[in-house]
Amino acid sequence: MSDGTRGTGDGNEPPDDEAALSARLQRLGNRLAQANRPSENDSGPRQTADPSAIARGFRLSAELVAGVVVGAMIGWLLDRWLGISPWGLIVFLLLGFAAGVLNVMRAAGIVRERSLND
C-alpha cells in the first residue's frame, strides 16, 4: 500500500507479493521435505529387487562363480606358497563354493543381509 513505485494497475494483487511468494515457497519446501522423509531409511539396507529377470539371472550366476573363483585362487596360492598341494585347493574350493552359495542366497533375499543380523 505504501509502495508507490509498483504499478497501481494490479489492485487485486497484494503489494507485498515478493514476501508472500517467498513465504509460499518456504511452505512448499517444508511440505516437500515432509513428503520425502518417509523414503529415507536410516536403519540399514533394504533388499533390492532387480527389475528384470535377465539382470537377476546374470547377477546370481556371477555371484556363484565369483565365490568359486576366489576360493580356487586362494587355495592355489596357498598350495604354491606352503607346498601343501593339493589340500589348499581342495579345501578352499569347497569353502569358495559355500561362499558362492551364500552370496547367491543373499542376492536372492533367501538369507537376510548380514548387516541386519542383530
Binding site: G44, R59, I74
Partner: protein
C-alpha cells in the same frame, strides 16, 4: 563384409603418450571414448546447472532428475550417512551410464566391455569400503565376518566363508557389468550380420532378412534398458557395500 563379432572390442593405439621402461603408453580408442564420456557428462551437468532457474528447463530438469535418482538410491540403501559418498556413487553411475549409452551408437566403442575397466571401478569401490571401514570402525570392522548367534564350533568355518564371500565381491561386481555389455554387443553384431548374409541370397533371402532386422531393432531397445539397468545395479551394489563400511555388524 567380414563377420567378426569380436572385432568391435579391439583396442587401437591412436598416438603414444609416454614410455615407461620398455612399455609404450599409448592413447587408445578406449581412452578417447572415456574422455568423450567425461566431456558429455561435464557438458550435460554444467549446461544443466548454468541457468539455475526456479522452473527448470529441459536440461536442468534432467540433471536434477539424475541427482534425485542417485540421492534416493543412496538414502534408501545406505541411509543418510551414506550421502557423504554421493560424489563417488554419482560419478560411477554417470560414467557407466554414459559409456554404455555411447557404446550403443553404431561404430562407437564400448568402454565397459573390457573387464580391466569394470574391474578397476569395482576395485576402487572395494578399496574405499576397506579404507573407510577401518578408518571409521577400527577393528570392529571385523564384526562383519562374525555373524551373531552362531554356535562356537562352526564359527571358524563360517568366518572363512564370510571372508571368501567378502573377497568375491569385486569379482561379481565387475564381471556382471562386463559380461552384460559384452554379451549384448556380440548378440547385436551376430544378428546384424545375419541381415547382410541373408540379403545376399536372392529375393527369398531379402524377405527372410526382415526377421533378423526386426530382432536387431528389438535387441537395441533391450540393450538400452540393459545399459541403464547395469549402471543402476552397479550403483546400488556400491551403496550396499558402502553400507557395510558405514555400519558393520549393525
Amino acid at each position: 563384409m567380414a563377420v567378426d563379432p569380436i572385432h568391435q572390442f579391439q583396442i587401437i593405439d591412436l598416438f603414444p603418450i609416454a614410455k615407461i621402461g620398455n612399455t609404450e603408453i599409448a592413447f587408445t580408442n578406449s581412452a578417447a571414448y572415456m574422455v568423450l564420456a567425461v566431456a558429455v557428462i561435464a557438458a550435460f551437468l554444467i549446461g544443466g546447472t548454468a541457468r539455475r532457474s526456479l522452473v527448470p528447463g529441459r536440461i536442468q530438469s534432467t540433471a536434477e532428475l539424475t541427482y534425485e535418482f542417485v540421492a534416493n538410491t543412496i538414502r534408501s540403501t545406505a541411509g543418510s550417512e551414506g550421502m557423504r559418498f554421493f560424489p563417488f556413487v554419482f560419478t560411477l553411475f554417470m560414467f557407466i551410464l554414459t559409456t554404455n549409452i555411447i557404446g550403443l551408437i553404431p561404430y562407437a566403442f564400448t568402454v565397459t566391455t573390457h573387464i580391466i575397466i569394470t574391474a578397476t571401478l569395482a576395485l576402487s569401490v572395494f578399496v574405499t569400503v576397506l579404507v573407510y571401514g577401518f578408518w571409521k570402525n577400527g577393528l570392529r570392522f571385523f564384526n562383519l565376518f562374525v555373524p551373531k548367534g552362531i554356535p562356537i564350533y562352526i564359527l571358524p568355518l563360517i568366518v572363512f566363508i564370510e571372508v571368501l564371500s567378502f573377497l568375491s565381491r569385486p569379482i561379481s561386481h565387475s564381471v556382471r557389468l562386463f559380461a552384460n555389455m559384452l554379451a549384448g554387443h556380440i548378440t547385436l553384431k551376430v544378428f546384424a550380420s545375419f541381415i547382410t548374409l541373408l540379403g545376399g541370397a536372392g529375393i527369398i533371402g531379402m524377405v527372410g532378412a526382415t526377421l533378423p532386422l526386426a530382432m536387431v531393432v528389438a535387441l537395441t531397445a533391450l540393450e538400452l534398458l540393459v545399459a541403464f539397468l547395469q549402471a543402476y545395479v552397479f550403483a546400488i551394489l556400491t551403496c550396499i557395500y558402502l553400507n557395510d563400511a558405514i555400519h558393520p555388524g549393525h
